[in-house]
Point group: D2
Chain length 367, copies 4
């Protein structure tokens, strides 16, 4: 349990370091009978790939995925799906000067404290390349969700001081923005802000929001395995995330009950309607059929090109500059990672919820 697994029934295990031979993931528990090919996965990986524009690292990797097992004649068989992405551009020499240093904002010191050894090349396992496994597995989860009509979509809602204007928000235009902001005006302002950061050899934080729609009511287990608890874990487990909110999130703390309650209106087609969705589609840890809303705050990339005070393994401070290639902002590339973690969480909860009633089992096993 070194923590490389996620999920109970739809369970993934990721592996691989930034500068190792490859990165990959094994998906165990994906139901049989889902059409799946490499292109289904590649389109997701392409959205997280480096080198998409000037705000992403120049590291040139095609990140081509290979399905090594688990499908037969184009369909999942129920056996583990192993996905592999070879690392191509491993410029280890960039990291020589930090092999004896702990960088601020990075996991260098904590890995050494935990393991007594660390692969200092590119952050090793703590590199953002670790998310390749998440995204590849998330693409498979997404295929499963689509079979049931569920969609998951994320976008950037803020970068540094610039936030989207919700009155201008248009989710169909996310991919038009190089920063994946569904508001062209905010996207331009954010680009200007990032130019300023780059000139100052600095980086910026940002916010991602994610919406899951058509999720059936009843997903999520009471108490510890609440749907929102697992979404919080899923999203907080992405490197650089420092806050997770569900629905209106932190705003709820300043409200009164009469302001925050989502009053019911009449049902439509057996689905309850609500006048608002402050709760973000989850009540008591269980989905209520409304859209599920998650918000994640990302810290700025800690690797900046200016000299910083680092700690040496000798216990002394050293002022050094981090070389290597780093994104000034991670949120644009992380949009697909948030989608992936949301999809993985929903897929697992779907499988768990399918046996909540004895009547469900009779539907499956009795003819």
């Amino acid at each position: 349990m070194a923590g490389s697994g996620f999920g109970t029934i739809f369970r993934i295990t990721t592996w691989g370091e930034s500068h190792g031979k490859a990165i990959g993931v094994v998906i165990d528990g994906c139901p049989a009978g889902i059409a799946l090919c490499e292109a289904d996965i590649q389109s997701f990986l392409d959205r997280r790939r480096p080198g998409q524009n000037r705000y992403t690292t120049a590291r040139a990797e095609s990140d081509c995925v290979e399905i090594l097992s688990g499908t037969f004649e184009g369909k999942t068989t129920g056996t583990p799906i192993s996905l592999l992405v070879r690392n191509q551009d491993q410029r280890s020499r960039d990291y020589g000067n930090i092999s004896e240093l702990y960088r601020p904002g990075h996991a260098d010191y904590t890995y050494d404290a935990k393991y007594g050894i660390r692969d200092y090349r590119g952050g090793g396992r703590s590199s953002a390349r670790e998310t390749i496994g998440r995204v590849a597995a998330g693409a498979v989860a997404m295929k499963l969700l689509r079979e049931l009509g569920i969609t998951v979509q994320a976008y950037v809602s803020a970068i540094g001081p610039v936030s989207i204007d919700r009155s201008r928000m248009d989710l169909s235009r996310i991919e038009e923005s190089p920063l994946r902001m569904p508001d062209p005006e905010a996207s331009e302002q954010a680009a200007a802000w990032l130019e300023k950061c780059l000139r100052a050899q600095d980086s910026s934080g940002g916010v991602i929001e994610c919406i899951a729609q058509n999720v059936p009511a009843g997903l999520g287990e009471p108490v510890f395995e609440k749907l929102d608890a697992n979404l919080a874990k899923a999203v907080m487990s992405i490197g650089a995330v420092k806050a997770v909110e569900i629905g209106d999130g932190t705003l709820a703390a300043a409200r009164t009950g009469s302001q925050n309650n989502d009053c019911y209106t009449d049902s439509e087609n057996g689905r309850p309607q609500k006048a608002s969705n402050h709760s973000g589609g989850i009540l008591g840890g269980i989905s209520d059929g409304s859209p599920i809303l998650i918000r994640a705050s990302f810290k700025p990339t800690p690797s900046i090109a200016r000299p910083q005070s680092m700690l040496g393994r000798d216990g002394k401070c050293h002022v050094e500059t981090i070389r290597g290639r780093h994104d000034p902002i991670v949120v644009a590339r992380a949009v697909v990672v948030v989608e992936a973690m949301t999809a993985l969480t929903l897929a697992d909860h779907l499988l768990l919820a399918s046996s909540a009633q004895i009547g469900n089992l009779k539907k499956v096993f009795c003819r």
Copy 2:
């Protein structure tokens, strides 16, 4: 896996409904040799007990805990510790009028959607009484942590529009405030705000912060079982929590890297020192030895005494008033719940981290 378990090695399972016979928890995996008696646990339960003051429900329960197993001659034996609290004041009659209604902000509809059946008396399993099991188990985790010098302390930092002033904050005075705010002035303002809410038959949200100190560096597993990911899950799994932040949380998203990085200064006694702690003591999902900071935003109690639009099982809207006894604010009583979830998470990660290096195993097994 109905989600009533938490933790991998230090694993608890809670059970019990608001109006059932009893509430309880089983702790499996607590190391042997820790002194433990009922008073150790009771003092924690007393802090979450109803009826402490006018801002908590008038439900009169002494919530006395009984240790049924797992100790011998005053010490833990390594076998499961079963803790039981009998329910005493079960006024089921209060809930008759809502047996056919789904209340806004409550889990009534979602339980019915999931299970096709629900114990409508007092929210059943979704009642705040469910936290008794968490708090009792958290008290045992706290005993374990103290053996290694670790402390965990939570307090209320905001209620509705009132926040504490950090320049006045004094953690030694938390229990002097009926609202558990470590700033007497803010506590008085919050009390005035709550009076206003009560008069308006309304309730209020709030914020709890929690600090864990002397946590050794190296706790937390990379990738999915990050310490912050599990703290987020632990705290988000508390009913009414809508946001979880680590360190500076949402503020990090608006910052630049140079503002947000915690620069190192020289080590002291082998422990790295940092000029700031924006990261809240966790880097790459692993503790760095600095204080760990968690913040939780609680929504206002959904049960308010004014008429609200509810959904009937008949699919129609009904304007009804919720009877029963409810807190206008939950954060004061929830402080000990946040401490408990934090302690449980840390205890589990301690046990997991103890086998991260082959050298650790040699310390334990080789003489």
Copy 3:
């Protein structure tokens, strides 16, 4: 993870020591909507209760079960079911002389080696009273299985040198035999053998067989969570079991393929028919719809009334006699324990298997 939990979705956690206040179990993940009352469980506990006849310990306990949570109006709600049995007859004084001694064949030394402390009264957690939790939970699993038409039945097939004659076997007459042997003649011979053992202050081993019928094909996960692997674990986890066999078990090792293969005959109503069932209803770890057959070999009770060489905590040998009350044979009472472990394993695999195909999920979630 002190190992007191069993199962993944239908998951139980047992607790309690021989001479503690009570013994119990929490069942988490039982589907909602199953009729359940205390009598359903009590009838199973009565079959394992001591004092049924002269071959069981004279310890007088009624072992009355109390349902503390998880049902409402006579049906399971999907929330954890907590079951409690108070210990009544705790004659701790019987064990004083062995508090400093490690008995042969018992777990005295191993608990001390593991934990550095042990509750020596009646074996503490290693007592056969630990099986109360298994049997109570097994009774609930059995209710679930019956909803799908599955039955589970165990019996004693051998005691010491006496085996049943399969030509005389009649499963409807198990309970007529005080030793639960479905062959009256063998039962009488076994009784005579046990009298001989008792006179010699000795005890005897025995064998239990268990048959599960109407199990749907498709239960069991490939590779590590094979149905037979989990049945083996389930049954081997019962104290005193030293061997587990599936189908023809050890006999298969001496056979040729042409002797051991179960040839198919034509299907009937979509169910394949086989000319034999050497495999015991499981192929590749997955049920094939035929009866599932399990066999468990129990060692003789280690507590015998004659002097034995024991090890002191002082590292020296001491010849002592074990006082207290002990069964000369455990298999008659253990029949219901084997049934319980089989039922728990099948229930969990049913819930797991229900999501093996995307088509199953559509049956549950799409209308």
Copy 4:
């Protein structure tokens, strides 16, 4: 949870089908600091490789392992170790005639019943090639065990009607026998028996025994995660195993307590000595420091070259001959698989047991 994972802390996930692109395993939770290179693993794989002699399938595969992650400068880093073996000799054409047939003794029907789809080429995931992942991971577990002085060794004790003579047994000569029987005379008799089977187009069952030495006392968790329960699961999860015994196994059922108890003699160097080891080194599910003994009965290979009655997907019987290459006996190649499963189980229990006492945690975390 399609069951491709094994272990709690030292956790492996295997993947890959017989005729897919590759077979592999991810090891998560291996402690940092253990020297590991590909040769360490290759030597184990070479012992299970096909084509070693005339009693193993002629399928020619070199089964070269590649370490893709988890090591740095020759040592484990604590991050997941991904191991890959490419499939080379995939003669899918051999299996065309059985794509519509269910072979006796194989998992063909059960996979179809479970998943509604199956990769019929070479058994897909139910192929013996699946054990490559087990053996590769077991080699890593073995490296960990050796750091603590623990050894694990298996051998063939019987093939069909031929058993080894224990008075002639010499464990240092296992590898001299092509059948891995530590008794040259029995090995020759078994070879003669296998020639007879081959001539009759038949196959044979057999028995493997495994001994683990220098295992510290205290491994294994009470109740469900007993060391013997997990060894039983581990070994029963190997395809073709139909019985698992611990210590004297089935023989214990026919004995009396005075015959079966292992009486203690004085301690030596703090280690208790026993006059016998009928229990196989485990008492109450916990290791006692004596050698641990496991015995596994393997059924004969179901694939035999003579015509057999198979079931068609059409529900009718068809007499057909299985083509392809198959071992007439699996035990010689399975010896290393039993060692691997034993090593994996012990490694996981070592990590679990390391936190059983609060004193252990102080050794690790307090300086």
